[in-house]
Symmetry: C2
Subunit: 275 residues, 2 copies
């Protein structure tokens, strides 16, 4: 039986590409209109797993996914990295369009910020829920073009007016796979946690000390507003190892003394690019 | 003679409010249309100082300002904190408008994410360069409302359809003042630095060690993609003290051994709320 996968839709998004890369083309796909909806869909049992973007190599964290992780009981059970190429898309039958507005997801607009500034400084930027949603709004009469990937161009019968317009060559996005069941150790795993600290001098140093002393490598650290008090922060940390590994168990034990709370977001196999 | 201040315009933005709070109502004001333009305006000598948002207490860092700081030779010479109240604005003569689109700056849309989701789930979200720009686009016939502050409502002759719709009560934004001249120590200062590290295990711990050993308190740490290599990060760190204080001089000396480079973004007096 194939897996039912909720993803940040509509069809044609990079999230769909991540879902297909991870679960194969025959997985049953449930497009959701927001990141919150992907979480809700899995939580409600309408899909076994969900796929949402968590971080882009140029633009940084996807704040909304981080906020949903903080509020949800779902676990991260896997990750998938997709290389992102953004194109400027116009209707496929269009020869010489006067572009006055460009639609895309805010992260994609940000990833093409310099290009937009030098080529379409005056164009209105229309924020959409996804790149595919932006592609569906392309309109020659209204002068609306879109920034999206090749998959969206196919899906909405558009052509590429300008190829690969993202500001950085090495532009990729990391997606997380959400589920309800803890994964067993694969031998090459990563663990994501959310750490709440008291707002005291040296708090972050004291959190990092046990990692250093136990020889556990951080692969990512990110601070976010705590949402409880202004100018208080929580830390999203990824590190090498599975939550059931002995050093990681000892780490959790030591963190009890220097944090307010630790929420384990999940342990999962490290992404391996297909060769 | 009054100071010439470039700010993220148009008139009616929270950046203007920060500029007026910091330099007084009689400062000469130069509205700029993007954060990049504020940097360029000061760099070109068309304004003595600039005012841009750097961090919101709900939504986190303003990525574009951080990226500009990394690329610019301008210094942070001061900070200003403004409490943010977002309102839903419609034309002042409008009784019962059918709202199909809501315009605002992406950070403001993010700060009202939950409210938008429960009240205007289907509305198109239009990303604008500023809240004031959004206010200028309000249009009863097209069904476009805006999210912006009271200053923008006054400026564009709008009325408040719904007051204080931001998701968090304690919503404020920290603005930085940009200039070319180093500030002298005031006795209660903060320093902002940008730290480049080798991508090695324990790198962040080794950066934080000298802070801990010298008793220098971090007030903020944030990681951003390095933009040089995918999945490499730089750290934006704020700490207590002035760059010419002796312990801070010693800190810079010790950081030489454990970083690739340290860029000092500026030392400046800590913001004191007016009572």
């Amino acid at each position: 039986m194939s897996t039912t996968v909720a993803y940040l839709g509509p069809p044609g998004t990079f999230s769909q590409e991540a879902a297909v890369n991870h679960f194969g083309e025959n997985c049953e796909q449930v497009p959701c209109s927001t990141i919150d909806d992907v979480f809700a869909c899995v939580q409600a049992g309408n899909a076994e797993v969900g796929v949402v973007p968590i971080e882009n190599s140029t633009e940084g964290a996807v704040n909304n996914s981080q906020d949903c992780l903080a509020d949800s009981s779902l676990l991260i059970v896997g990750e998938e990295v997709v290389s992102i190429e953004h194109h400027l898309l116009v209707p496929s039958d269009c020869e010489d369009m006067n572009i006055t507005a460009i639609a895309s997801h805010p992260q994609s607009l940000a990833q093409c910020r310099k290009w937009l500034k030098s080529h379409y400084r005056e164009a209105e930027l229309i924020e959409c829920r996804s790149n595919a949603d932006a592609a569906s709004r392309v309109d020659a009469d209204k002068g609306i073009a879109a920034i999206a990937g090749a998959m969206a161009a196919d899906e909405y019968n558009l052509k590429i007016a300008q190829r690969s317009i993202q500001d950085q060559d090495h532009n990729s996005t990391r997606f997380i796979i959400l589920g309800e069941q803890e994964t067993t150790a694969s031998g090459n795993d990563k663990t994501s946690v959310l750490i709440y600290t008291a707002n005291k001098p040296g708090a972050l140093f004291r959190i990092l000390e046990p990692f250093e002393n136990l020889g556990i490598s951080l692969t990512k650290i990110d601070s976010r507003p705590s949402k409880k008090e202004a100018w208080e922060y929580v830390f999203f940390i990824d590190f090498e190892g599975h939550r059931h590994d002995e050093p990681v168990q000892e780490l959790f034990h030591r963190l009890e003394d220097c944090t307010e709370a630790v929420k384990v977001l999940g342990s999962y196999p490290v992404f391996k690019p297909q060769s």
